[in-house]
Symmetry: C2
Subunit: 386 residues, 2 copies
Amino acid sequence: MREVAVIGIGQTEISEQWDKSLRELAGDAVLKAMADAGLDFFDGLYVGNMMSASANNQQHLGAYIADWVGQRGKEAYHLESACSSGAAAFRSALIAVASGDIDVAVAVGVEKMTDSPSTEITASLATAADADWEFSQGVSFVALNALIMQRYMYEYGWKRSDFANFSINAHVNAMHNPYARFHMLLSEKQFEDAGVICDPITLLDASPIGDGAAAALLVPVDKLMLSHENPMIRIAGSGASSDTITAHARKDPIWLTAAENSSRDAYKQAGIDPKDIDLFEYHDAFTIMAALSLEASGFSERGQGPRLALDNEISKTGKIPVATLGGLKARGHPVGATGLYQIVEVVTQLRGMAGEAQIEDARWGMAQNIGGSGSNIITHILTNAR
Amino acid sequence: MREVAVIGIGQTEISEQWDKSLRELAGDAVLKAMADAGLDFFDGLYVGNMMSASANNQQHLGAYIADWVGQRGKEAYHLESACSSGAAAFRSALIAVASGDIDVAVAVGVEKMTDSPSTEITASLATAADADWEFSQGVSFVALNALIMQRYMYEYGWKRSDFANFSINAHVNAMHNPYARFHMLLSEKQFEDAGVICDPITLLDASPIGDGAAAALLVPVDKLMLSHENPMIRIAGSGASSDTITAHARKDPIWLTAAENSSRDAYKQAGIDPKDIDLFEYHDAFTIMAALSLEASGFSERGQGPRLALDNEISKTGKIPVATLGGLKARGHPVGATGLYQIVEVVTQLRGMAGEAQIEDARWGMAQNIGGSGSNIITHILTNAR
């Protein structure tokens, strides 16, 4: 397989974009990524999206977006693996370029969620879980995470407040991200006082939905004679793993086996260890997922994820900086787009262009996108090292 | 890229399978394909499906099906490009194996449509078209095809009865396919008398929906030491092309540019011409699409597709046998599964195992899957030639 690099990135802000259609959001991100790369074409388009069928009455997003950005005729598909749809699209673009089949691929994640009633969005999110054994029993997606968090707190003796810094740190970091959903600091008191959604998960454990799109343009490293001036950001490792679709069927429901598998594969390909990672864009859809991701990806002992938050080792200058531009909690979580936001943010850091949020001397960045309650987890490691 | 072969196939019958869930249908096809290949595992699963979000309250089909067939942990995604979702899944599996990233891929197409009210299915099918410029104007999917057919008949002077043999031939061929939706012959009189759905399209121009799943197992040719006894069926050519999402935006709405592009690429890779093709599993969702596919794929002059039907050159012993096991019209069209049914049928023919429906000395078979009104078309050429 050929080595592949990202040479273009683009994103829209995450907000309630009622004045932009689904295609306009996706188109903005794709055209920015193409302009950033200095290219006016691509060979293949890979679209990550979870809920356009129900939220926007629109599927067939490959042709829909390729047409909109003036690239009709190009190969174009839509990939879906719930909240990990963005990383699935990125990985498909990577494999297509690595294989030699095409030279220029664009992966875009897009989601437009705020035009629909929230009950409909809650029902759409639940299609990531098992329709027969979870959804139809009345278990919403927040409820699944609450069950996991409850069990985790019971097993390891954590209290709710031990998770506070996952959210507080994310909001600190989002202050310097112009594309983020929230630009406001959180206090420990606010976290403590937040209203319960599904015990023990409160509003401030949960990430916000939103409308947004992010895109990355990929080319083979050996064809980097292309006319662009950006530093080369290589995709050094890529791993993907599924797990049971239901949370209750897992041997250990408070361990993300698919994160362990996919990060192990990515580390191995990249030839590095967790200690080499300079920043980690993890999937903090809920604070419990932040803790579990850190553990399964090798940054913490089993059951000790919250310790990293308590010791503030997850901050910009900590042992393992996470959510460096706000994460899902504060940048926002437009579900099918999130995996591409993570990639765009890792590339921004590795280019040294993250401004006030810049991680010093960042050389290895990792992005991990989770689908369902841990049923599909995709991990990528990128680097500016040659 | 590595050469890739199909060494396992599986399918369910297409019918109203109210006693089988979505996962059971998909699982049956996947497990049959694995058994056929003599393998009890795969490395990656690629699922083609269009409407499980609305029709079955279930997305995340990669993890959902991998788990069900005992392959939890494996990489698994869902691909969607409307009615061409099946071929998109097959092509993704092909690229993954060709790249060297994995050795054993399964592509499965599945759709479960008959549990839902028909108005809901009509609305779901319309998400393949443009939500803003087609669907919200009240144009259903049948209506789009009717507009195209009306224009085509006007331009080239064909009458409705000239399309009859596309449907009659499909029903003849389905008689020998135990998995087909229909086992009944059609007469010209029945075709003439059929009720109009949307002028000029009648019930007997249109393919039936249904519940079903089909799967193919792919391995690299250079690793064919695997313990299976089936003849090697090589994937000799693969092409994919998009077009405008709306039918009205095309320069020529009665020409399938994406079929022309993708078949040209597939012929070039295979090193053959249309005259070398021994059978063509085309996308006869409507008789007009049958005519347009034959033209754009090089089997007929522009505007002369119906001539092949009138002269019965599309029959088993004709110049270009099509829909050899019933096609969409009579085998049935469970939308996201159709592209895999086409592949399974081409492999069956090339193995010489099509029984009464066998095309004599078949060496080159082609499958072409159409998404939307021609917005995404994927063409594969397979062969038993070494």
